[in-house]
């Protein structure tokens, strides 16, 4: 009894330590963002400033390009997430259900694209996009993000489809549905947790992507927010307060997004489909 209690305490304590470690940077982000500039260096490193302010936020929103970066990021990440999830569900379904010529090769090719460090690919991609007029444009960025996220998302979706018994769409097809309708009305609703996971994964990946955003885009008009954050670093100083305020604002969509999809992430929708 006593030992079990001790075990539970140790267990909870370990989780607590880990949580503190994982969440501390976020807390620090928030703390610096509400610290007035004059206190940032004068107070040492207290856990909370003696005087908190929202000036950094209002400055970032009113006097910098940050709202524009933010909008660009929403456009790029949102489109990437939607396009990738659409493509990946169709491709994942095909990989899960059909046998076709060249299937092993397609799988190998998709894995191959995941093998190279992106830094190696920046120059060739720039070379490809520039004659197409896709550098310095959000469209170009979406194209690149989609290309790099589709393989992994496809495998992710495939594993979700694999978990849904084939009998279900066969039953639907015998009931009078075409295969596509069975996919849309029976299989997709059951894959909502998988779709939510894929959307979330791709959205966050695109939201925080820096390398391509930095290399393919020049000029504030189509910069995304990770690039925009860098603009708070000038040659002589870093405006930490504003940078952190921008960072806190950038967290909001990701949080909202996961708040929206979390109910699908935890739900086991397929329960009761087949024997159990």
């Amino acid at each position: 009894m006593r030992e079990r209690l001790l075990g539970t305490i140790a267990h909870r304590l370990a989780i607590l330590v880990y949580m503190a470690f994982a969440l501390f940077p976020l807390f620090w982000l928030l703390k610096v963002s509400v610290t007035p500039p004059d206190l940032l260096y004068s107070e040492g490193v207290p856990m909370w400033p003696s005087r908190a302010t929202l000036d950094n936020f209002s400055f970032v929103l009113q006097h910098t390009d940050f709202p524009k970066y933010f909008r660009n990021s929403v456009i790029v990440s949102g489109s990437t997430a939607i396009i990738v999830t659409l493509l990946a569900s169709l491709a994942g379904y095909a990989l899960s259900r059909f046998q076709f010529r060249g299937k092993p090769w397609i799988i190998v090719l998709m894995l191959l694209t995941q093998m190279f460090p992106l830094v190696m690919l920046v120059a060739p991609i720039f070379k490809m996009l520039s004659p197409l007029g896709l550098t310095n444009s959000l469209t170009g960025l979406v194209v690149v993000y989609v290309a790099f996220n589709v393989p992994f998302a496809t495998f992710l979706m495939q594993s979700f489809f694999d978990g849904i018994p084939k009998d279900l769409e066969e039953a639907a097809m015998i009931d009078g549905a075409t295969r596509f309708r069975a996919f849309r009305q029976i299989i997709l609703p059951l894959t909502l947790p998988g779709i939510a996971a894929t959307l979330g994964f791709v959205f966050t990946a695109a939201w925080s992507e820096l390398l391509f955003a930095l290399m393919l885009i020049s000029g504030a008009a189509s910069s995304t927010f990770p690039v925009g954050l860098l603009s708070f670093v000038s040659k002589f100083a870093v405006d930490f307060g504003q940078m952190m305020a921008a960072g806190v604002l950038a967290l909001i969509p990701a949080c909202l997004f996961f708040l929206l999809i979390q109910r699908y992430l935890v739900q086991g929708l397929t329960a009761g489909a087949v024997k159990g």
Partner: protein, 353 residues
């Protein structure tokens, strides 16, 4: 309602042949059971009729129309799956009405059909439930309901009772039979359970290794199995088999231990040809002080009767009797094999006339 004709159907998966040319004619309104051990191709044949597997060669007709190239949805058949395959995100009513909604049937018509199917199956109080809130037997019923709301040309059943416990299986078996009697729909039922096959079928199709072994009424297969496979597969406990030779002079079977069993009539068989003698356990007559001596190995009381494991004719012999007071282990009893109950098979396994 429709007849179903299967002609020279073959199925290959790559280089592996699963069905080697199956012919089958199912009459309108008939209840046909495909039975055989797992891997014999019975489910594959059913799925080919449903349109879920491609046909390698041969032809399938439903109601006189060739359906080889028709999608499942255009074949107008209903199927009950072993796993039930209920749509988990739909209610019981939603599951049952899905096919009608796909056909854009009128709302009142759908409501009426669902209500009458639910009444037939005793699901009236469960219509708003989701499949996960149902027991196995209830799910099974919903799967049947999904099939009967449509009045399709034929019902296909793919081992629908295998996932139920023994007691429920018995109940559902009765319900399926009753349902067929009231609807009179052409039905094809796949099972590996020979009791289900015997009790449900108008005709049984016994399959093994991708070939039809025998087609006939349940009692046909039981009384006159066409070959050793059918003889061994139908009936429980299984038929006793003895190796030996045929003696034409006095028409007798000579076992390996030289015991001669009179066969009662002449068979179309050469003198001295190796043959297999078969007799069902329930036809072996035990005791009475006559016949061959048979030491008792094992006694299995089933309540309903007793299964005796004996040694006779140089082999193991099982006998089933309704009596309870029978031999003890270690005793020696006597067995007689009534000539009219004997089955004789040639070396290839085929029944000898």
């Amino acid at each position: 309602m429709a007849s179903i004709d299967v002609t020279a159907i073959r199925k290959n998966y790559g280089s592996i042949a699963v069905l080697h040319g199956v012919d089958l004619a199912i009459r309108d309104g008939e209840f046909v059971v495909l039975v055989g051990p797992s891997g014999c191709g019975k489910s594959t044949l059913l799925r080919m009729i449903a349109g879920l597997e491609e046909i390698t060669a041969g032809e399938i007709q439903i109601g006189g129309m060739r359906v080889n190239d028709l999608e499942p949805k255009d074949r107008d058949i209903a199927m009950v799956f072993q796993s039930y395959a209920l749509y988990p995100h739909m209610t019981v009513a939603g599951n049952m009405s899905y096919s009608l909604r796909l056909r854009r049937a009128a709302k009142e018509l759908i409501a009426g059909k669902v209500a009458s199917a639910a009444a037939t199956l005793g699901l009236e109080n469960l219509l708003e439930r989701r499949p996960r809130a149902l027991s196995g037997g209830q799910r099974q019923r919903v799967a049947m309901g999904r099939a009967i709301v449509r009045a399709p040309k034929a019902f296909l059943f793919d081992e629908p009772l295998s996932n139920l416990d023994a007691r429920l299986r018995e109940t559902m078996r009765g319900e399926i039979k009753r349902l067929h009697q009231s609807l009179g729909a052409t039905s094809i039922y796949v099972t590996h359970d020979q009791i289900e096959a015997m009790t449900l079928a108008d005709r049984i199709v016994a399959m093994n290794a991708g070939l039809v072994q025998q087609v006939g009424s349940p009692l046909d297969l039981y009384d006159r199995p066409a070959n050793l496979f059918v003889a061994g597969f139908i009936g429980s406990p299984a038929m006793n088999m003895f190796g030996g030779t045929y003696r034409a002079a006095d028409s007798a079977f000579v076992a390996h231990d030289n015991t001669a069993i009179p066969l009662g009539r002449a068979y179309q068989c050469a003198d001295g040809a190796p043959v297999t003698l078969g007799i069902r356990p329930e036809h072996v007559v035990v005791g009475g002080g006559q016949g061959a001596a048979a030491p008792v190995d094992l006694v299995e009381p089933t309540g309903f009767g007793t299964i005796l494991h004996l040694r006779a004719l140089g082999a193991d012999l099982k006998a089933f009797t309704l009596e309870r007071k029978t031999a003890q282990v270690g005793e020696t009893t006597h067995v007689t094999l009534p000539p009219e109950r004997l089955h004789l098979f040639d070396q290839s396994g085929a029944r000898i006339a």
